[in-house]
Symmetry: C2
Subunit: 80 residues, 2 copies
Amino acid sequence: MRVKVFISPRKGILDPQGRAVEQSLHTLGFESVANVKVGKYITLEVAAKSAADAREQAQRMCERLLANPNIEDFAFEVSE
Amino acid sequence: MRVKVFISPRKGILDPQGRAVEQSLHTLGFESVANVKVGKYITLEVAAKSAADAREQAQRMCERLLANPNIEDFAFEVSE
C-alpha cells in the first residue's frame, strides 16, 4: 500500500520557514499570499493486509516518529 | 483560495532524509516500509478571481520559488 503523510506546524506555533517563504513570495509579486505554512510531505510503501491495517500502521508511524506531537499536526492518505 | 503544495525529491535523486526515516521506521518495527521519500508540504492562502487563476498563480510560485526544478517534482491542489 502507498501512504502519503502531510505534516504541518500546528496553528499558533512559530513557523519561521513559512514566514520566510511568505516574504519571498511577496517580493516576487505574489502580494496577496498569506498564512504560509511549511511542513513535511512524506511518501512511503508498506506491506499491509488491508487498507485499515495500512492506516493503523501509518497512524502509529506518525505518532512514534514522523510527527512531533508537541508542535505538529498530521494527516495521511492510504491507497493501493 | 487555499492552496496545498506537495514537493518530493525526484525519482533517482539521493534523498538522505528519506533513507534516515526508513531506517528508523525499520528499527521501530515497521520492517516492511520501503521507498520513503521526505519532501515539503506547503499550505497558503491567495487572493484569486477563480480557481483557474489560483492554479495559475500556484504553478508560477512552484516554478519560481517553492520547488527546485533540478531535483524536485511538485503537485498542488486548490480549494475554496
